[in-house]
Amino acid sequence: MKIMDVLVKDAVILDLESDTKDTLLAEMAGALAKVVPALEADRLLEVLIEREGLQSTGIGEGVAIPHGKMPGLQSLVASFARSRAGVDFESIDGQPTQLFFLLVVPEHSGGQHLKALARISRFFRDPAFRHKLIEAEQVEDIFAAIEEEDAKF
C-alpha cells in the first residue's frame, strides 16, 4: 500500500494552531472530516482520544501517529499535520511532538490498518524523512517526501 494513495491532500495542515494534545486532535479531525463526508468530526475525535487513553501514539523523536477505527468509512484515509513549536503529546521519549500522521480505518479492516501503521512508523524512523517534513515550505514538499519514501519499499 502506498501512503500517498491514502493521504487526503486537502486535509494536510502545514502549521497547526493548537498547542495542546486535545485541541490538536480536534483540529486534525475537523480538517479531515471536512473533506471526507463519511467522517463525523466529533465522533472521530472521541475515537482518537479513546485510543490515546490506552497509550500515547507519540512514538518519540517528535513524531505521533494518532489513529482509530470508524464505522461507516469505506476505505483507509490519512492526513498529516505539523506544529513548528511542538506540542506535549505525552510521547514515549517525553519530548515535544512536531509531526503528526493521522490514520483512520474502516471498522472491519482486517490486518490492513496494522500494515499501514507499520509502514508509516517505518517511514518516520528515517531521520532524513523527518527532516524534510520539518523543513517543508509548502504542502507539495511534504507530498514529495512521502512519495520518495513510498518508492523505496
Binding site: 485510543r51 490506552l54 497509550q55 501514539t57 512514538i59 518519540g60 501517529i65 514515549i92 482486517g110 490486518g111 496494522l114 500494515k115 501503521l117 507499520a118 509502514r119 512508523s121 517505518r122 524512523r125
Partner: protein
C-alpha cells in the same frame, strides 16, 4: 538468593547442561556419572563437584551428599534408573524435591502412585510428551520456527525469521506498542547473527532477524500477516517414525481430524502402528527414501515431521522433504550445534527434547514463584512465567522503581482477567502472573527480585 544443594544423577547432555546452568546461577551442584571417561571429560568443562559411580545405589547417593540435598534430579538415559533414583531420594533419604526424567508413560504413572502418600514434592518430566506438545503448538502457527504457550494459553511465544517483505523489518520494538496498544503483543527476544538480544524499545527489527514475539492469542492472525506468513496450504501431515513421539503425535492429529500419513521402516513397528491407529495411513519405508516420498506425493504435504530415534536421519529427511516440495519441515534433533542452526539450513523448526527437558526441569528448580512454564530459546535466553510473591522486590513498587537489570524484560502481566504489556509505571501486585524474558546468565540476579 537462596542457594540450593542440588544433586544431579546422569552426566549426559541434559544432566551436564543442567549442572552447568545451575552452578552458574549460584547453586551448589553435585553431578553423579557412572562412566569414568565421561567423568574425566566433564571435570574439564564443568565447575561442579563430580562423583563417579552408579547413582541409583544408596552408597553412591550418600557419597554424593544426598542427605543434605534440597533437590535431586534424575536425568540418566534410563527410565528405570531414574525411577530408582527418584524412589531412593524421595522415600529413603527424604529429599524435599525430586525431579525425574521419564519417557515411558507407564513409569510416569507408577511414579505418581509411589508419590501419593508422601509429603515430598516429586515431579516427572517427560521429554517425549513435551515434544508432542511442542509439535502440536507449532502446527497451530504457520511459519513459526518455535512456539510455546504461557499464561494458560493466552500468550503464545513464537519465533519467526523476518524476511525482506515483512512489515516488521525496519520497525522499532517500541513501535509494536503503537500497533498492539491493547494487547500483550511485543518482540520478546531477537537472535541476530547467532547472538541473542533481549531487546529494549529502541532496538530495530532487521531483515534476517529471528524474532520471538509474545503474542496475545487473539492477535495471532494480525502478527502472521505483518510477519508476512503465507496462509498454510491445507494438505496432509506426514509423520516419519512410529516412535513413542510419532505415535502420540499421530494419535493427537487423528483426534483433530487431520489427514495423516505415518512412515515407519521397521515392519513390526509399522504393523503395530497400523493396528493402533484408525484413520492414519501407515506406510512401510524409510523416511530418507526419495522415491518413496515422491510416491506419497510429498509436494502435497503441508507439514513433514521427522521424529525417528535417528536424529541425523531426521535432519536428512526433513531437508529432502522440503526440497521435494513439502510446505514445512519439523525435525527432532538434539545435537546442540544443529539446534542453533535452525532456519539457516532449510529446516523450518527443530524440536530438541534435551532443551525441552531442561526447560521443564528448571521450572521446578527455580524458586521465587516460578511455577508454571519455563522454556529456553537456544541455550541463551529463558522465558519464565512467575507468580509475584508478597514481599518480593518484583512486587515492591512500580517496575521503574523496581529497576530490573538490563537483559530482563517483563513481556506480559496478568492481573486477574486483565492481560497486558506493562510499562515502567505499572506495579506488579502479589499474586499477579508475569511473563519474564531473561538472558540465562542473569537468572541468578533475577531470582533476587523474585524471592520474598
Amino acid at each position: 538468593m537462596e542457594v540450593n544443594n542440588i544433586l544431579i544423577v546422569g552426566g549426559g547432555l541434559v544432566g551436564q547442561t543442567l549442572a552447568d546452568r545451575l552452578s552458574r546461577d549460584g547453586h551448589d551442584v553435585t553431578l553423579v556419572e557412572r562412566d569414568p571417561d565421561k567423568v574425566r571429560e566433564l571435570s574439564d568443562i564443568l565447575d561442579v563437584q563430580l562423583v563417579e559411580g552408579n547413582g541409583s545405589t544408596a552408597p553412591v547417593l550418600r557419597e554424593a551428599g544426598v542427605e543434605k540435598a534440597s533437590l535431586v534430579v534424575a536425568a540418566t538415559e534410563s527410565d528405570e534408573c531414574n525411577a530408582l533414583v527418584g524412589f531412593l531420594a524421595g522415600q529413603v533419604f527424604n529429599t524435599p524435591r525430586v525431579v525425574v526424567r521419564v519417557r515411558d508413560s507407564g513409569h510416569e504413572e507408577a511414579f505418581s502412585l509411589v508419590d501419593a502418600d508422601r509429603g515430598a514434592e516429586q515431579v516427572c518430566v517427560n521429554p517425549d510428551s513435551a515434544a508432542v506438545d511442542r509439535i502440536a503448538s507449532l502446527l497451530e502457527v504457520p511459519g513459526a520456527v518455535d512456539v510455546m504457550q504461557f499464561l494458560d494459553g493466552g500468550v503464545l511465544v513464537a519465533g519467526f525469521r523476518i524476511g525482506q517483505s515483512s512489515d516488521f523489518a525496519g520497525l522499532r520494538v517500541s513501535d509494536m506498542k503503537l500497533l498492539f496498544a491493547a494487547a500483550p503483543t511485543l518482540a520478546a527476544a531477537i537472535q541476530r547473527d547467532g547472538a541473542w538480544i533481549v531487546p529494549g524499545g529502541k532496538e530495530e527489527i532487521r531483515v534476517n532477524d529471528l524474532v520471538y514475539f509474545a503474542i496475545a492469542r487473539h492477535e495471532l492472525r494480525d502478527v502472521l500477516s505483518l510477519v508476512g506468513v503465507e496462509p498454510e496450504k491445507h494438505g496432509r501431515i506426514m509423520v516419519a517414525g512410529a516412535s513413542s513421539i510419532g505415535m502420540a503425535l499421530a494419535r493427537r492429529l487423528e483426534a483433530r481430524d487431520e489427514r495423516v500419513v505415518l512412515l515407519e521402516d521397521d515392519p513390526t513397528a509399522a504393523r503395530r502402528a497400523a493396528e493402533k491407529l484408525n484413520h492414519v495411513l501407515v506406510i512401510r519405508g524409510r523416511e530418507t527414501n526419495q522415491s518413496l516420498l515422491e510416491d506419497e506425493e510429498i509436494e502435497n504435504v503441508s507439514t513433514f515431521v521427522a521424529v525417528t530415534e535417528d536424529h541425523e536421519s531426521n535432519l536428512v529427511a526433513g531437508l529432502l522433504a522440503k526440497r521435494l516440495g513439502a510446505g514445512r519441515s519439523i525435525v527432532l534433533i538434539d545435537n546442540p550445534g544443529m539446534v542453533s542452526m535452525v532456519g539457516d539450513i532449510g529446516i523450518d523448526a527443530i524440536i530438541s527434547p534435551r532443551l525441552l527437558t531442561i526447560g521443564l526441569t528448571l521450572q521446578h528448580i527455580r524458586g521465587g514463584g516460578v511455577r508454571s512454564g519455563a522454556a529456553l530459546l537456544g541455550d541463551e535466553v529463558e522465558i519464565m512465567e512467575v507468580e509475584a510473591e508478597r514481599g518480593s522486590r518484583l512486587a515492591s513498587g512500580t517496575l521503574m522503581q523496581v529497576g530490573l537489570p538490563q537483559g530482563v524484560l517483563v513481556a506480559a502481566l496478568q492481573s486477574g482477567d486483565e492481560l497486558r504489556v506493562p510499562d515502567g509505571n505499572d506495579q506488579v501486585q502479589p499474586g499477579d502472573r508475569v511473563l519474564i524474558v531473561v538472558m540465562t546468565d542473569l537468572v541468578g540476579k533475577l531470582t533476587e527480585y523474585l524471592e520474598p
